[in-house]
Amino acid sequence: MTVSGGVGGAPPPASLSAAAPARAAAAPTTKARTPGWLVKRILYVAALFGATLIFVFPFVWLVSASLKTRQTVFNNELFPFPLHFENYVRIFEVVPLSNWFINSTIISILAATTVTISSALVAFGFAYFRFPGRNILFWLVLASMMLPGAVMMIPNFLIWNALGQVNSPTFAPLWAGNLFGSAFYIFLLRQFFLGLPRELFEAARVDGASYPRMFWSIALPLTRAALIVVFIFELRAAWTDLLRPLIFLRDLTLFTLPQGLQYLVKTYNPQVGGQGEFHLVMAASVLITLPMILVFFLAQRYFIEGIATTGSKG
């Protein structure tokens, strides 16, 4: 990991800026006129289409299985008939799925909101100010990204346990830690703050703006896209997390969706000795996946550009 230069000296982030240069397919255009170009191009598209099928087909399979019966769920038929939509009603009757939905929604939104605000504050601190020890502290941020969660997991459990927050309806262990920022997001946002022209801030200083005001009125509005990236990344992370709910939540009504789905597999998967209602497990899988797919399609651009930017900062 290289730590890039001084304040304002770093190159502006390659993507996420409004005018990202359209350089896609740069290489092939040079060969566009050679004979056989069209044939090649058709072959490439066909290959990509095949790959797309592999990536998308399991979703179709999942939905199809969720509309089958207990007897037919493992039968590998793509188009079941009749369609058993009642599975989606049944699943709400056999487990407190609506509770799980509410819990997951509350936790994900709290986690994403807190981490976005706190990480932005810290990132601005690293990007704008010059102070002794800055490089060492920033190196610590980078280093803490590499730490395996397992090394902190047990003492973290003990902390929340001592605070009486294990199995608590506040869900504090699943989001309150985000009040203190998260290394990866601090790193990402700092890059974006560094990309802002320093003159903007100097001008505001001359006009007598305070540092919090500069952060709030200049830095945040200009990095809106990056803040959305952080928000949706954490939303996804909190929505899909299994390990921490397993550690911190015990009551069935306090479960999150992934934890509830894991419980359903335990109860209903015949292959591990459950009661064999695997079609209900499949219906639940669809329901827990669907909200993330919706968020993805709404915020697609931010997901993709966010991921792409991550790599270019490596």
Partner: protein
């Protein structure tokens, strides 16, 4: 204290507090706990190196480490090679790349638990994968119960979520200057030569990034496998699917052997540190930086 410094620390305060309470403190605490016998109910009791000695005799330690390395060594190279291939294809189809890129990324927003349950269906003895293998005349194994094939099955599942790696590598490939390809074409270099001598060196930084990140992640694989194989304490093929973090979780939160689990956590930490250091050291020879710090 100068005003700038004072304000800097006000902005940094959340992270400093968080780092002490939730990162540095817990690291030291788990190091301490690794030298104790502790089960939450009674106070921790210092036992010296007992946990580490026990670790050496526990046959599940080499078993779970072996499983984890086996998985990582298969998963990471396949992930990067297939992602490179897909990214190169994307680069050649112009604007259509956007649609395909979206499709590739879709599995990445699927919760790991849902991926696990879905693949319980796809990898089952008579499941979709074996039906497809049947079609080409291969008699597929039971990926969920046959100890030899459990891990390859998990690798297949893990490759379903390679979309984010494709996006990172594709973004890097788009930044390669067109002029280099033009010059190479004039010199008569073919596709493979251009890929080998222009694309690869240019995106070596991004490849290195995906290598490190995915290795660290692979060594900590948990959710999908836990859902598929460990909803009960015993099951077919559990020995073969017992990854290190799963065993650690069992020791810590099912057996409440927190001292032993802390020792396990520190062993994992040291392993990851050594492997990452080794990769960073190795990268000095392979990663090419094009003048700037990107």
């Amino acid at each position: 204290m100068p005003e700038q410094t004072r304000w800097a620390f006000i902005f940094l305060l959340p992270w400093i507090i968080g780092f002490v309470i939730f990162t540095a403190g817990p690291m030291l605490a788990s190091l301490y706990l690794s030298f104790t016998d502790y089960n939450v109910i009674r106070a921790p009791e210092l036992v010296g190196f007992d946990n580490y000695e026990q670790l050496m005799r526990d046959r599940r330690i080499p078993m779970s480490l072996g499983n984890t390395f086996f998985y990582a060594l298969l998963h990471v190279p396949l992930l990067i090679i297939i992602s490179l291939a897909l990214a190169s294809l994307l680069l050649r189809v112009g604007r259509a790349a956007g649609v395909f890129r979206t499709a590739f990324y879709l599995p990445n927003v699927t919760p790991a638990v849902a991926i696990g349950t879905l693949f319980l269906l796809l990898l089952a003895g008579g499941g979709l994968l074996n039906r497809m293998l049947d079609a080409v005349g291969i008699n597929g194994p039971n990926w969920l119960t046959d100890p030899t094939w459990v891990k390859p099955g998990i690798v297949i599942m893990s490759l379903w979520t390679l979309g984010s790696t494709v996006i990172i590598l594709f973004a890097a490939m788009r930044n390669v200057p067109i002029e280099l390809y033009e010059a190479a074409t004039i010199d008569g270099a073919g596709n493979w030569k251009q890929f080998r001598h222009i694309t690869l060196p240019f995106i070596s930084g991004a490849i290195f990034f995906t290598l490190i990140v995915n290795t660290i992640a692979a060594l900590q694989i948990f959710s999908e496998v836990f859902t598929m194989f460990f909803t009960s304490r015993s099951g077919p093929a559990q020995d073969s699917a017992l990854f290190y973090t799963i065993y650690l979780f069992q020791k810590a939160f099912q057996d409440l052997d927190l001292g032993y689990a802390s020792a396990m956590a520190w062993v994992l930490f040291v392993i990851i540190l050594v492997i990452t250091a080794f990769q960073v050291w190795g990268s000095r020879r392979f990663v090419y930086y094009a003048g700037d710090d990107k």
